[in-house]
């Protein structure tokens, strides 16, 4: 018991921080969308810019994607087929998966969320079904996303589980040397900032046959040719020792998640995934999400995608020139502005919100205790004025609080 989690204990620690967040009006803000990352708080009409939105390219309010979502519901005349997708599926589901498979040159299957993608993928890989029936030693990076960590108990029912320090390539190589099959579970780009040492991991894959499982939720669309993400950009093409899961609700601007199972056309893996787990008996992306996926996939083929990626990079550079963070210069859209105490972090967040900018206070269990701060996420559709004003406020308000 409590090998992998202790909900009661975690809840006890984090509860006070959430209460403070709630009291400061930074919890459960109900809004209307104004487009381009702007919201209106419904309780008082206060308008603000979301500086912690993971819609890095601004596709969540892209008119073509939004209209395609609504149109797909009306044209299929339903949100779903009301039968397991393995039995009967709408053409929209087939088309969305084919379009995504073609775009990223992978065998893509969609899921209700990135978390469900983890749920489908990790126990399956742990069982050995993707590694010649030999269950691999399952090695988790300590900072792997919640949705990966939450699978540890299920994974441990299929194979052995080890957790290593963040980005500890040396420890991983030692495990590769001493075990016949090793699978490594990590984020490509971490939701709390930074990324995996992808090049070094691929070197271990070449040398030892290391199986790699990446959560690319914060990297797909945002990075790489046609938005294929950091891992595929480095790989060039997916191989049969790499599986990628991702969200289609972040940079991609649609709904649900996806699994890139391996090389395009690997029908066998597709069948294995479909027949052994939640894909068999749980919900798929509804037709609105599928319409959005199709429209977003089409957009990923155009110059517009590269333009948005360039705008995002320019905004990251502008922010870095104004505010110093540990992530300065890494080219990723996630910045962590450390404050220290949970209370001061929430107070700074509330101050910023009064000035028209929302930024998420993050603390335990997202990060370690006493290391609280604001998680900032740059977007392609932020204006220069917004970034400059926000950068200035961030420093002024923090300096005032600590003066």
């Amino acid at each position: 018991m409590h090998t992998f989690a202790n909900i009661k204990k975690s809840a006890r620690i984090s509860n006070d921080f959430w209460n403070v967040t709630d009291q400061a009006g930074m919890f459960d803000i109900v809004v209307a969308g104004l487009g381009e990352g702007r919201h209106r708080r419904l309780s008082d009409g206060h308008e603000f810019v979301n500086m912690s939105s993971y819609s890095y390219l601004g596709l969540d309010t892209h008119p073509r994607i939004v209209e395609a979502a609504a149109a797909a519901v009306l044209s299929e005349g339903s949100l779903n087929t009301s039968t397991s997708r393995m039995r009967i599926r709408f053409a929209a589901l087939r088309d969305a998966e084919e379009a995504m498979s073609q775009l990223f040159d992978v065998e893509a299957v969609t899921t209700a969320s990135c978390a469900v993608a983890a749920w489908v993928t990790l126990p399956l890989i742990a069982s050995g079904l993707f590694t010649g029936d030999v269950p691999p030693l399952m090695v988790f990076d300590k900072n792997a996303h919640f949705c990966l960590n939450a699978m540890k108990a299920s994974v441990a029912d299929e194979s052995e589980v080890v957790t290593i320090r963040h980005n500890d390539v040396e420890a991983l190589e030692e495990l590769c040397r001493t075990h016949p099959q090793v699978a490594y579970v990590a984020d490509g780009v971490y939701s709390t900032g930074g990324q995996a040492p992808i090049g070094e991991l691929l070197r271990l894959q070449d040398r030892y046959g290391l199986f790699l499982i990446f959560d690319e939720a914060h990297s797909v669309s945002t990075l790489g040719t046609n938005g294929r993400g950091a891992v595929l950009e480095e790989l060039g093409q997916i191989n049969d020792r790499t599986v990628i899961i991702t969200s289609l609700n972040k940079g991609f601007g649609a709904s649900g998640g996806a699994i890139f199972l391996g090389r395009r056309g690997s029908r066998e893996r597709f069948d294995v995934a479909l027949r052994n787990g939640p894909l068999m008996w749980s919900q798929r992306v509804n037709t609105a999400g599928l319409g959005a996926i199709l429209a977003s996939t089409a957009l990923h083929h155009t110059d517009e995608l590269a333009t948005l990626q360039r705008r995002l990079q320019a905004n990251i550079d502008l922010f870095d020139s104004l505010v110093d963070t540990p992530q300065h210069g890494d080219g990723l859209p996630i910045r962590f502005f450390e404050v220290g105490s949970e209370e001061a972090t929430v107070a700074l967040g509330a101050d910023l919100l009064r000035h028209g900018y929302y930024a998420s206070p993050i603390f335990f269990p997202i990060i370690g205790r006493g290391q609280a701060g604001l998680r900032l996420m740059l977007r392609a559709n932020m204006s220069t004025g917004e970034i400059e004003e926000f950068g200035g406020l961030l420093k002024t308000l923090r300096d005032r609080a600590y003066a």
Copy 2:
């Protein structure tokens, strides 16, 4: 290892059956929707009626719900807020949850699917956070749905797990006598037919304080006043020792799932659920699903709901008068037509499909080996002619195969 699952072994057993199903053209049928449970197969234009659709009231193609789904996407201008729902959420999410809480007189929270509702609920309850910080003995019915079973390993990391025989009230009472806190995990109405002995379970709740967790995916909308399902119909009103999870994608005709956490207004439980698990970091229902939930909730308040429930009951009665099954006369829409061998079941399914009726062959791991058959699901929007023709075909084709 393999305390709760053995994916490699299950896959080996079921794989042949799925291959047979695939070869018979009964796997992954890509269709266009024609409304009212009818589909057109895209490969050849063949039209058929779905006799295994879990849209028991036909709400999946109800024009008001479908139109509301599309309209909600356009009016919010996005599928999501691109931030955790615990931080910023659209009014549509608040309104959908408030409407559902009011309709069923519960504290309702929505999830991306019923499976995610299980993921949120079971480890949390196992931790003891809903039972005065005492982790309850977690007792699973052997036939509890996949989405509940799949949580066993995570649940066992928070508390002790026991699995008992199907509907074994005696064994459960013995556990209640010998343990200070017991929680029982079951389906209200089972996806393979039949239901829980709800009255007897409530008696154990009265006597021992038994905590009850029901999956009501096949019962909400279909049964009870305003579609509140079998459990709430028997309870009258939810109590704080009962949690219900459900799908909003079956009878309800929308997307996602829901958790009925307890009495309406139990804000503390709402916060506990929100702050400790997938609700914190995973996707919520998109705005299309939320629009559908709101429209369906409104419909549940009208006489139309009762009319559809009556039509469904009349269709169940008609079917029962034509075809004998073990579920005959139980008033539920799920019927199991046993054939025996997996191959004969699939052959019968393929024959029926040629005649214009789709019925799902089910076999291991959904049910035991060598007990294969067709899972039939009655709907309010089946015509008398369809049911009569299908009932006749079912008998003729089976008799012919066994002659």
